[in-house]
């Protein structure tokens, strides 16, 4: 039983890292990305590769994952600097679709649809961590560090600059802010930290394949941020917990027809997204809507 709960804790923590990092660019910089799963995936593949070919120490796997994702994120920053709003959503969508194709085809690195098998457990200072209860310590600590980092950033001059750009790009520029640079950095930070989640995910599940890094995954993370509350501290965490618990919760209701559970779950979260947008666009923990 504990293992089951810790398993959920791990998955929630991993997805919460994704939600928190997506919220960083969505909520503060106003960059609405539908390509977050790309960095999650790249982080996972990179850390799996390092763990299998170099060493499974998280001191190696996580930084490698972060660097790879940071480098790729420059590709996303490119359109982010030029366009806004619906155009950027479309561009990120394009990147997501391209990435899925590459994840499926670059078989020497990703194993294609077949995925990467038997990824060694995370190695923390020589100790192998794979039991759900032990891994929960690792994943929760990682989440706390990521949150602390993002919180510190948001309340620093960098965070103020981001929010300033969010509110008025031209005004921010006329107060000396290098808008493209700040946006690029925010995308890079977000992607690099999302890769931490990828690294944890790979070593925890010991198996990864492209199906975990598709558009659906990006949408799921986006839904977590939105349902929880965009631009809030607790929102992404609440959203991640809620959406990750949903399948388990529904499956406890024995009277529901087994074959419809998956569909019901999706209907609930789809309906949730729509109703929240109509009645409470700020999300569950959000403030009132911005004008």
């Amino acid at each position: 039983m504990e293992a089951y709960i810790f398993n959920l804790v791990n998955l929630i923590a991993i997805y919460a890292i994704l939600a928190v990092t997506l919220n960083f660019i969505m909520g503060y910089a106003g960059i609405y990305s539908l390509a977050h799963a790309v960095f999650f995936g790249l982080g996972a593949y990179t850390s799996a590769w390092v763990a299998q070919n170099v060493h499974p120490s998280i001191l190696l796997t996580i930084p490698a994952a972060m660097m790879a994702a940071a480098a790729l994120s420059l590709l996303l920053a490119l359109p982010a600097l030029r366009v806004r709003g619906e155009y950027f959503v479309a561009a990120s969508l394009g990147l997501q679709v391209l990435a899925v194709t590459i994840f499926s085809e670059w078989k020497s690195f990703t194993g294609g649809i077949g995925g990467v098998l038997a990824i060694p457990p995370a190695n923390v200072f020589g100790i192998e961590v794979f039991k759900p209860a032990h891994f929960a310590i690792l994943s929760v600590v990682a989440l706390v560090i990521v949150m602390a980092l993002i919180n510190a950033l948001v309340h620093s001059s960098f965070g103020r600059n981001l929010r300033a750009i969010h509110d008025s790009e031209s005004a921010a520029a006329s107060f000396g802010k290098n808008v493209p640079m700040i946006k690029t950095i925010s995308v890079v930070i977000s992607a690099a930290l999302a890769a931490v989640a990828g690294a944890l995910y790979a070593s925890y599940l010991s198996f990864i394949n492209v199906e975990s890094f598709t558009l659906d995954a990006s949408v799921l993370v986006m839904a977590m941020v939105i349902i929880g509350g965009t631009g809030t501290v607790a929102g992404p965490i609440v959203g991640a917990a809620l959406l990750m618990l949903l399948p388990s919760l529904i499956s406890w209701f024995d009277f529901l027809p087994q074959t419809e559970i998956g569909a019901l779950q999706q209907i609930i979260y789809g309906l949730g997204m729509t109703l929240l947008m109509i009645f409470r666009p700020g999300g569950i923990v959000g403030r009132r809507a911005k004008a």
């Binding site: 609405y32 490119l78 359109p79 030029r82 366009v83 806004r84 709003g85 619906e86 155009y87 959503v89 479309a90 561009a91 969508l93 394009g94 990147l95 679709v97 391209l98 194709t101 590459i102 499926s104 085809e105 558009l215 949408v219 986006m222 839904a223 939105i226 419809e260 569909a263 019901l264 999706q266 209907i267 979260y269 789809g270 309906l271 949730g272 997204m273 729509t274 109703l275 947008m277 109509i278 666009p281 809507a289 911005k290």
Partner: protein, 289 residues
Amino acid sequence: MLAIQLAITGLQTGALYALTAVGFSLIFGSTRIFHFAHGATFVIAAYFFYGVFGAGLGLLPSIAAAGLGAVAFGVLLDRLVYAPIQRHEGSFFTVFVASFGVGIVVQNLIGMVFGRGFVTVNTPLSRSVEMIPGVYVSPLAWIAILCTAIFLGALQFFLRRTHTGMALRALADNPELVRTFGLNPRMIAATAFAVGSVLVVPAAIITSATTGLNPAIGHHVMLISLAATIVGGIGSVSGTMLAGLLLGLAESLALLVVDSQWTEAVTFAILFAFIIIRPAGLLGRATAH
């Protein structure tokens, strides 16, 4: 010969892409609503057709059911979901998320009712005949191209020659303008949704006989519509049409060079390139900001 065959195939695909994409483009251009559930409209039209046709009620009632289903869905969605959101906030992203949610709900409801597998409407019309040696064209391809021409022609007439159509175009440029002309923007939005939803009906019906349907197909339809709208230039109906055709052709002709798993990537590489290099699109006036 292969290239000619692929071009014809691409034309058929592109014609259907153009129809669906123009529907999305019209709605997006005139109301600025990021109607991601446009794919769901497609699914509803297709399954209504499939259901009624499968029940043996004949072709015309099936087409009517598909049309009614699509229009009712589009208009009701505008009334019940988009209008309330726009009343209190209206950020494009809020609308997008709500629309996305609706798409998920529709996909799963359809799956519960009709099953999640692929279904196909069987018709002898999908069987190709050899036109010239080595080039096969199915009657459905002609029907697809003809339907596209008729519907897009009718749309152009509607947009250029009727009062409502012109108001629709005006709405794209300036909502205030419409108000001063004494027209109700919400009424015009409803028209945009009705017209935009009708446009997917022929594509949905033809698709049900060619490549078949499943509840998740709306996703692909939506992605293509979005890509065509942006490549064509937001607000430009003719641009979207052209882009839909081009994307269909590119997807098909790409097979000459790459394996078929890259075709979707080709579409989105084109989209990505347009956004970076020419965000205004093929025929667009609007700028990216």
